[in-house]
Symmetry: C2
Subunit: 184 residues, 2 copies
Amino acid sequence: MNPDIFLPPQVAWATGALAGGPLIRKTTRLAELPDVFTDGEAWKRGNPQQGVYDVDVLGSPVGEGALFVGVTHLYAGNVGDEFFMTRGHFHARREQGEVYFGLRGVGLLLLQTEAGDARLEQVTAGSVHIIPPFTAHRLINTGTETLSALAVWPSVAGHDYAALAEGFSLRVFASGQGFEVRHG
Amino acid sequence: MNPDIFLPPQVAWATGALAGGPLIRKTTRLAELPDVFTDGEAWKRGNPQQGVYDVDVLGSPVGEGALFVGVTHLYAGNVGDEFFMTRGHFHARREQGEVYFGLRGVGLLLLQTEAGDARLEQVTAGSVHIIPPFTAHRLINTGTETLSALAVWPSVAGHDYAALAEGFSLRVFASGQGFEVRHG
């Protein structure tokens, strides 16, 4: 007689939908992102209830060495000419890294060291982003559809938004059919 | 003028093929798996050069908090009636977890605690397996095609095979069109 076979949660690669497990969703709306976008007047004109991104996280064990799995859905949109993006953060535990996998849409992953050195990685379906320790990270949606990315990160990592109160050193704006990167 | 946009490695969800980055492949052959399968005579009759599984790992930073990304390709086959499987291991750093994502094929993930409690999770395309700290893990291919699974694990985790020298407490054998689980 076979013992019970556990049916684990599932991720749909094409959409990033998570199913079959306990899920916690956090929605971040435009109202919660003051001082994130360059054009403050355009931000004030926006709908404060507009969802900018959702993060779905599977419920799972926590503690030193335990890993979390989640999906970020970053919607297509602009504030002025600047693309929708996540707030971005360092981990509170600075030495803890993270891995992102692009699932759908197109965008950029902005990485920045504590010394302020920034770089951009292209996010597409199947892209693999190994974010090293001591590195802040932000997603930017440069396309016209939702940018969805799967993430794995240590449960003890935590978030430190305050360390980036002055923003990342690069910003990305719509330009013609593409984008333009400017120093912030 | 836009700065350089880094093109990261890519994973093909349908096959688990990794490309576009430094890759290290480790092949494990039947000859390297003595005392892993129940039927030692069948193992001796097998081709010692037969590849049982390949593990491809992306080159990436190491150290406390850094994460590795790799793909295991476990081939379809049997030793006697027992399905091909990975050796399986605890992490040397017992508290370090791991995450597997099923990509193709069908199989089982065998998990076992230090107390010897074992359980099986069904691996299919898109399955998400959050392996908690202090938990040994082994993949078993119960199907007729290659079982490929994407993994993310802490670079400091290490491997401890010796702790499982007596094997896992469950074993999985072909039975008709399906499988049968036996206590080892």
